[in-house]
């Protein structure tokens, strides 16, 4: 309740003025009820998501003949039913982390470019262009990735393998266009705008007097940014990266189209490895029978928990900084 209303209401009754018309009071009560009800409904939906996923996952988990957490195969409709989240969870986290490593430095550069380098009159338009990256639907990135990127990166990945093959990450029996690195690259493009947008907001809030003081003392622009803007924005960039990570973990269609859907636990980025929880749901749902659906819902539950934790952590960091994302 805003303080202004209280003052007015108290003032009204204190002065013995005529009471407010009752229809207004009733309307007030109803309106308040409706609006708080809508808010509570959102909380109920979040709780219901967890409850229904758990309820539908339990029968399939009961029928599972292997450990859900450590098994790498996915054969819930076989006899006996055998499935586990290990390969999928590993693939999800691996592709998302690589995407984060690729996207964060570029996004921070883009954010600094817009907040501190680009002319003021251009900044809004340049920011809008970067935001357009986020407006492209994920299935379009998937199509672009599948038809253009997968064949296009093959020679580049081959070159990476030939020059850096001694590093285990870049070793491979057979360099493939459909690989973890390709999936990560598509994810990186998709999460770049959100990391850039949140970082930009934080950089814009860096104290101006400190920046001016640094410049006044003779610092170059880079030194000013390094000494005032970056220390101020560090936690904001971290939470922006975590928001991006949350987005990458849950991304489905684009990843389903460019990852080879292999059930392996391997960090060889250029091999035909790579899969993710969300991609597996999209790829195998159509053929899944009842038990298979339950198994997919169980894997979705794992994804839900992982993204929930990542997002909550990101929001808590932001909340402490009082920055709106």
């Amino acid at each position: 309740m805003s303080s202004s209303t209280e003052i007015i209401e108290q003032g009204g009754s204190g002065a013995g003025a005529r009471p407010a018309p009752s229809p207004g009071r009733l309307g007030d009560r109803l309106f308040r009820l409706a609006s708080s009800g809508a808010g509570i409904l959102l909380l109920v939906i979040m709780a219901a998501i967890a409850a229904f996923l758990i309820a539908e996952a339990i029968p399939a988990l009961r029928a599972n003949h292997a450990s859900f957490l450590t098994t790498t195969t996915w054969n819930p409709d076989g006899t006996p039913s055998v499935f586990g989240i290990a390969a999928l969870a590993f693939g999800t986290v691996l592709t998302s982390l690589i995407a984060l490593i690729i996207a964060t430095p570029v996004a921070v550069g883009v954010a600094l470019f817009i907040s501190h380098y680009a002319p003021r009159s251009l900044a809004a338009i340049l920011g809008y262009i970067v935001d357009l990256l986020a407006a492209v639907p994920s299935v379009v990135y998937g199509l672009w990735g599948l038809i253009f990127l997968v064949p296009g990166v093959q020679p580049v990945w081959q070159w990476l393998h030939d020059t850096l093959g001694f590093i285990p990450l870049f070793s491979a029996d057979q360099v493939a266009g459909k690989s973890v690195l390709t999936g990560s690259l598509v994810l990186a493009i998709m999460i770049l705008p959100i990391i850039a947008a949140v970082s930009r907001e934080v950089f814009l809030q860096a104290p101006v007097n400190l920046q001016e003081a640094a410049l006044g003392l003779g610092a170059t622009r880079w030194e000013m940014i390094r000494m005032t803007v970056l220390p101020f924005g560090k936690s904001g960039v971290i939470s922006a990266a975590m928001l991006g990570l949350g987005r990458a973990l849950g991304e489905t269609i684009a990843v389903a189209m460019v990852l080879p859907a292999a059930f392996t636990v391997s960090a060889q980025l250029l091999n035909t490895n790579g899969n993710s929880i969300a991609a597996n749901i999209a790829n195998t749902f159509a053929e899944a029978s009842e038990n298979g659906r339950g198994a997919l819902i169980a894997s979705g539950l794992v994804l839900f928990v992982i993204t929930l934790v990542v997002n909550m952590a990101a929001r808590l960091v932001i909340a402490r900084k009082k920055v709106r994302a």
């Binding site: 007015i8 809508a38 909380l43 550069g109 492209v136 299935v139 622009r221 880079w222 987005r247 189209m257």
Partner: protein, 290 residues
Amino acid sequence: MSVNSISPARRIKDKAFLVLVCLAFVIAVIPLISVLWMVIKNGAARFDMDFFSHSMRNIDAKDAGGGAYHAILGTLEMVLIATIIALPIGILTAIYLTEYGQGGRLAKTISFFVDVMTGLPSIVAGLFILSAWILVLGFGFSGFAGSLALSILMMPIVVRGTEEMIRLVPGDLREASLALGVPKWRTILKIVLPTALPGIITGVILAIARIAGETAPLLLVCFFTDSINTNPFTGPQVALPQFIFQQAGKPDPTAIDRAWTGALTLIIIVMLLNLIGRGIARWKAPARAR
């Protein structure tokens, strides 16, 4: 060395960073240009009347012709229903957060979970509707189930957008209205919302643009069809993103062409919504500080 000059090492570092930052921007824009170019170039081939007036009924992947009429119709219906569901809930929640709950524990909890809900993976929303609506309550696969999933994704975006706009409405306006004896609910409906309306419309349009491109939840709850289904409440229905996903999975060049044209159509819809939304924000919104 004079007082004004900067040592070469520092100047080079400064310039090097300038180059890096500009490079980062260029790197970020390359994929956008590449995607748009590929979609326009490859999508133009089948951007014809057939595509917008025919479905894929009785048309094999290798056949020429066929279109996305059924999918475009599905997208429009699903998005419309999702908006009808998400809009009142989202706007009422935003009103609660700004006008009633300020600083209270319930408002803080709701606000926190709205943020968390923004990060909800779309496939999880699909799994939720699949579990609750289809498996537990026993309704069939339908476009409406897709709308339900989309509305869950839309709600937090509408809440955030509306909330931000309502907070921009000057407190003086509210106080003036209340001082004239207007009840609070009428003040909100007649003063606060109309003042914030252009901004709210922008937020809603951007939210629509966001969900119109969603594929993952629809794969789980709408099933799939090649035919026209005008009724979103019964029988499988298909949306444009699903159409693209399905056609892209076929090896035939005719199917791939249809996928590109579908992508072009979807991008045009989404970009138009974005432009309209941001246009309204630019011309109509109250002057913002910055």
